[in-house]
């Protein structure tokens, strides 16, 4: 007789058996299935925005025609949660096969052996612009990542606010930091309450780096801080001047603005005439500002564009996990992403201007107005570039947080600029260990 107890026993046993079976050695699936013909599935993780997510989906779709055997599963994310997730996945031995990597964290991952040497794995980099491959190289690792695009630091102007204030847009080939401040103060005074000439830039890491480079130093040198307390102090004095002169908003408005999403920011809502960004963000800002943005070089200390000391930064990179089950497939896909004009046409310049010159040539004619602004800017500064900066050393990924903290404490009057400068150096020294 089939009793209740027996039924219960079976009910309990069945899932147990299924569970046991799944652990057996003959399991299908599992981690990537290292098939003989290299037929595999790859996981691709990136952070981004809706446009980029769409591009990336399309490019993975298009890859099916090139390599029908390979399936690519997509793991899109947001910048804010991306690194936490990646760190957790790494801890769990669940690192995606291909990841979008940032310069800040490149050394962090590569020097701990998490990334494959792409050069050794046979990635073709022959068509890349001189100097653009090296930005992914680390001494002990090799080519840890290949850039997915290049960009440079830029000032963004909202021409509508300038017009309202009746102020001319400055000549960026000759402007100085003083001129920037004066222009901003004039705009603040000429416009209504709540509108400012510029955003508070004290917590912006990219501009900080431009500033210290103009002082003949850099953010890092030989794996340690590359700037001294005097330069950091001068930077915080500049930030203080932005606040005190009325060129930019007060401390609490600035703090709030810096944590808002791009479309809610003072700049996008027409409350600020000048802000700063990386050139690959020109497109996103251009959409938000009614008449489009004007892209300018940052000011210099000498009033000469030749001394601005900009550099081409890899906007982001592609890297391959050293633990991937299918290194050949993964590298082949990265090769497609960076070397194929077909992929380039899909990805366009959303991840920055392609470092591969053949790809760049293939896509530039079809660009729209906003994309063209970014590309033009990059080309216009090419002659003035300074030397390439050192890659962020391990522990340096937190620099922007340290800069933000020091700037905020200074703006709220808890620290003097000199104390903030010293604090920044101390924090950085302890993070770099």
């Amino acid at each position: 007789m089939f009793t209740r107890r027996k039924a219960l026993a079976l009910g309990l046993a069945a899932p147990g058996l299924a569970g046991l079976a799944a652990c057996g050695p003959n399991t299908a699936g599992g981690s990537g299935g290292s098939g003989e013909e290299g037929a595999g599935s790859l996981r691709l993780a990136w952070w981004g925005n809706p446009t980029r997510d769409e591009n990336t989906k399309n490019v993975a779709e298009a890859y099916k025609e090139v390599e029908p055997e390979v399936t690519i599963s997509l793991e899109p994310g947001e910048w804010s949660g991306y690194w936490d997730k990646l760190a957790t996945q790494t801890a769990g031995g669940d690192f995606p096969d291909i990841v979008q990597m940032d310069e800040k964290y490149l050394a962090e991952y590569a020097e701990r052996g998490a990334l494959l040497d792409l050069a050794e794995a046979g990635l073709d980099t022959a068509d890349f612009a001189p100097g653009s491959v090296e930005v992914g190289e680390l001494p002990d690792v090799g080519l840890a990542a290949i850039n997915a695009g290049l960009n440079a630091f830029a000032f963004l102007i909202n021409p509508v606010v300038f017009e309202e204030a009746g102020v001319e847009i400055p000549d960026d080939s000759t402007w100085t930091w003083e001129e920037l401040l004066d222009t901003a103060v004039t705009i603040t005074e000429a416009t209504g309450k709540g509108t400012y000439g510029m955003t508070q830039m004290g917590m912006i890491q990219g501009l900080f780096q431009v500033y210290v480079r103009q002082s003949g130093q850099d953010q890092y040198k030989d794996g340690a801080a590359g700037f001294d307390a005097a330069t950091a102090t001068a930077w915080f004095e500049l930030a203080k001047k932005i606040q005190d002169s009325g060129a930019g908003p007060g401390a609490s408005v600035s703090v709030e603005d810096s944590s808002r999403s791009m479309d809610q920011s003072l700049f996008a809502t027409g409350k600020v005439a000048m802000t700063v960004a990386w050139s690959n963000q020109v497109v996103a800002h251009d959409v938000l500002v009614p008449e489009g943005v004007v892209v300018l070089r940052p000011p210099s200390m000498t009033g000469s564009a030749a001394d601005v000391q900009l550099w081409y930064k890899a906007s982001m990179y592609w890297a391959v996990s050293s633990q991937t089950a299918n290194p050949d497939d993964a590298v082949a896909f990265v090769d497609y992403l960076v070397n194929s004009p077909d992929a380039g046409k899909i990805l366009s310049v959303e991840r920055g201007v392609p470092g591969n010159l053949t790809v760049r040539e293939a896509i530039v004619p079809d660009l729209d107005e906003a994309d063209t602004k970014a590309v033009d800017y990059l080309e216009s500064i090419e002659e003035e570039l300074g030397h390439a900066p050192e890659i962020t050393p391990q522990g340096g990924g937190q620099f922007e947080d340290m800069l933000t903290r020091a700037t905020e404490e200074m703006l709220f009057g808890e620290l003097t600029p000199a104390e903030a400068g010293q604090r920044l150096l101390d924090d950085l020294a302890s993070a770099l260990g």
């Binding site: 009793t3 107890r5 046993a13 804010s80 690194w83 760190a87 991952y109 703090v255 990924g397």
Partner: protein
Amino acid sequence: MSAVGELTELVSNRKKGGVKERHPDNKAGLAFMLPWLLGFLGITLIPMIASFALAFTDYSLLAPPEFTGLANIKEMIGDSRLHNSLVVTFIYVFVGTPLQLIMALLLAVVLNQGIKGLSFYRSVFYLPSLLGGSVAIAILWRQMFGANGLINQVGGMLGFENLPGWVSNPDTALGTIILLHVWTFGSPMIIFLAGLRQIPEMYYEAASVDGASKVAQFFRITIPLLTPIIFFNVVLQVINAFQSFTQAFVVSGGTGGPSDSTMFYTLYLYQKGFTQFDMGYASAMAWLLLIIVGIFTAINFFVSKFWVFYDD
């Protein structure tokens, strides 16, 4: 096959009167407990042991942990941001919890007066507790207390000019999060309501016959008889408050800013572990938190002897 075999054997053993007479139901009991037991082992006990071991290592998540002895503890002693995070957390616990409980008790007393639509009000006041720890409410809070938020707009209408951005000013940011915490008084309130229902009506009747005022009744009857419930809520809410994370994380955008004024202990722990790749240090911090919560709970139990009145 073994699982089925064992279970059928178990069943037939019981029918026959069995061999293992003393605890014939043990295996079946264990089988029923298995899901819970696996969860307990897999997501509580083993991780706790692992975290204790990791507290003595340098573990970057990317490379295997390296034993460093007491290095993390030494570093914690000299870590001024950790000290600051403790101060912030203590302010939050020792200002927020009493305010929250007072609020909960007062509303419970009011709701206990037998007003019409009691269940409606109970739900309305309880709602923030359900939502309070959620990301959505924290985002809403940030909007409301921003420089151009609802609070300042209302303030502007009332003639207060130049109000600060409450969440982005280091002097007021922690206060807004404490306020959010106080607002989620619903769950202690429900417990207080249940406790109030337990107090026999005749005490009040006797007191009013003797001419005691409502206030005197509250302090002489309600509070003393409610002390076990108050104690329960104090212990529970103190432990909860020490572990607060979501509100600070969302309101400050994960930074603990402005200038570390909302850097809760748990938030700093999280940053150490997941954004600075220092899981060993984060584990050591987690154990310090356990010790701190343990000490305060022990103090609570010790002090309770002097003020908690059990009606027996």
